[in-house]
């Protein structure tokens, strides 16, 4: 309501003033509450940081003793001092999930840098306290990074009894959780990669690299025979199995690799022929030579076949078969053929000299391309 004042000025009625005052009070109260909340959250955060720091220091003191002292007797029974340290750690953590989480992090950080008895002492401590229920609890989190951390801890701390808790994550929609569970199951299952048989899905290069990295560090007796997955339903698993059979030099995979040369999938054939070359499967040379005769329309397969023949080819018998590729429309294949023939030595040189090329200029280019010092060094 607007009225005329003493000096004829329009003034606002009490209703409007009340509303303005109420809004101002509300804003003031809101701002004060926000400041108080911010202040309290800062206080809480700094308190938590201080608590974390103090817990870390305390844990570190105990863990140093666990790691450094001769914790176990030769027969593997627990040293009395170890029990005492475990009791100390249990006392420090109490029932607090926060304190347990800090301890797990601290143990993982240390374990990453340690090997031998010291690393084993940390693993044993994780089992004895016990901290695995805390890691298992994280598997139920809705936040992917918390779940991944839980899986990681169970794997790093070798908690084999948690295999069944981890298994469902093998088909998680989140690729990082999938990668972690792959690695965890590989490490925790009695037979590494046993789960691969029932795996349905794509095995990314990232997972493959991590699996290889892990397998490179385990006892060679635990490395599975990769030929069992050469017929897997998923091509990514088949390619992985072929690569691993090559990396771990599994000679007994050679007959199965030779069978793969008759596959319809060019990528599998390419991987298989490369593997035969790397594993120096001389007894399968004839199959590789037969493949060369049919690989003309598939440049990638043909290139790998030519490279394979550098390793297992018979110069006197195979040189003229390779020479056919000196006329291939692909420059890469012509160069690959020159490289193979050059590797064959005199027999190869002779074939190049005598080759009746449809386009001598192209052959000359392929030879000069091969003679380039940078390319030949590569």
């Amino acid at each position: 309501m607007i009225t005329v004042g003493e000096f004829g000025l329009a003034v606002r009625g009490p209703g409007v003033v009340d509303i303005i005052l109420t809004v101002s009070y509300a804003l003031l109260a809101g701002a004060t509450t926000m400041v108080a909340v911010l202040f309290l959250s800062r206080v809480l955060k700094s308190w938590l940081e201080r608590k974390e720091e103090s817990l870390r220091r305390r844990y570190q003191e105990i863990l140093n003793k666990v790691i450094v002292n001769a914790t176990f007797s030769e027969r593997g029974s627990v040293h009395p001092a170890f029990e005492f340290y475990m009791a100390e750690l249990r006392l420090c953590t109490g029932n607090s999930a926060f304190a347990k989480e800090i301890l797990i992090q601290q143990m993982l950080t240390l374990k990453r840098n340690l090997s031998g008895n010291s690393a084993r002492a940390l693993v044993r401590a994780y089992h004895e306290i016990p901290l695995y229920p805390e890691s298992r609890r994280k598997l139920g989190s809705s936040r992917w990074h918390v779940t991944a951390t839980g899986i990681r801890a169970l794997f790093e701390m070798e908690h084999v009894d948690s295999v069944e808790y981890v298994r469902p994550f093998l088909h998680s929609r989140n690729h990082l959780i999938r990668a972690q569970s792959f690695l965890a199951l590989t490490g925790l299952e009695k037979e590494p990669l046993k789960f691969l048989g029932g795996f349905r899905g794509f095995l990314s290069r990232w997972i493959q690299i991590n699996l290889y990295r892990y397998l490179s560090g385990v006892d060679t007796r635990r490395i599975p025979s990769f030929r069992q997955w050469f017929g897997h339903a998923d091509p990514s698993v088949r390619r992985f199995a072929i690569r691993m059979a090559t990396q771990f030099r599994q000679q007994d995979a050679l007959p199965s690799l030779a069978d793969l040369l008759y596959e319809a999938d060019a990528s599998i054939v390419g991987h298989a022929v490369h593997a035969i070359g790397e594993l120096e499967g001389f007894e399968h040379r004839h199959v590789v030579v037969r493949l060369l005769a049919h690989a003309w329309p598939y440049p990638s397969v043909a290139q790998k076949t030519l490279e394979c023949l550098i390793k297992i080819g018979d110069p006197s018998k195979d040189a003229h078969r390779v020479a056919r590729y000196l006329d291939h429309p692909s420059g890469l294949l012509r160069s690959a053929a020159v490289r193979t023939l050059k590797a064959f030595g005199d027999a190869g040189d002779e074939v190049i000299q005598l080759h009746d090329c449809a386009d001598p200029g192209r052959l000359k280019d392929a030879i000069s391309h091969f003679s380039d010092p940078i390319i030949s060094a590569a």
């Binding site: 140093n64 450094v68 840098n113 340690l114 031998g116």
Partner: protein
């Protein structure tokens, strides 16, 4: 004996300090980055330096090079690294490191190597 341990991983430095002190190998100092390490080696004469390769500001290799070329000091240096690549190991020895330990490592093995170097 004065030993300097340079690593940005506090937990690891603490464990190494504890182990070396327990073995009675002397007083252990720590530096958490390359800058602090360079300052300490310039001010104090150590009997041994143990350094990680990857540290903030200056790497362990830079520190080794600084000690050998700038300070012209022959203090034994052990390089610790998670990177056990042949080239890195060779580079470390080339610029003057006395030993190279790949992480993960055994603290007992580290102590044995430290004792062997200090005895020389």
């Amino acid at each position: 004996m004065k030993i300097l341990v340079c690593d940005d991983d506090d937990a690891l430095v603490s464990m190494i300090r504890f182990k070396l002190s327990r073995e009675g190998l002397g007083e252990v100092f720590k530096a958490t980055d390359g800058k602090e390490a360079q300052k300490l080696v310039t001010e104090t004469r150590f009997n041994l330096i143990i350094t990680d390769i990857h540290m903030p500001f200056h790497s362990g290799l830079e520190l080794t090079s600084f000690v050998r070329q700038h300070l012209k000091d022959s203090t034994p240096i052990i390089v610790l690294s998670a990177e056990g690549l042949e080239d890195t190991v060779l580079q470390a020895f080339e610029i003057g490191a006395n030993d190279f330990i790949t992480k993960p490592f055994s603290p007992t093995e580290l102590a044995v190597r430290v004792k062997r170097i200090l005895r020389k």
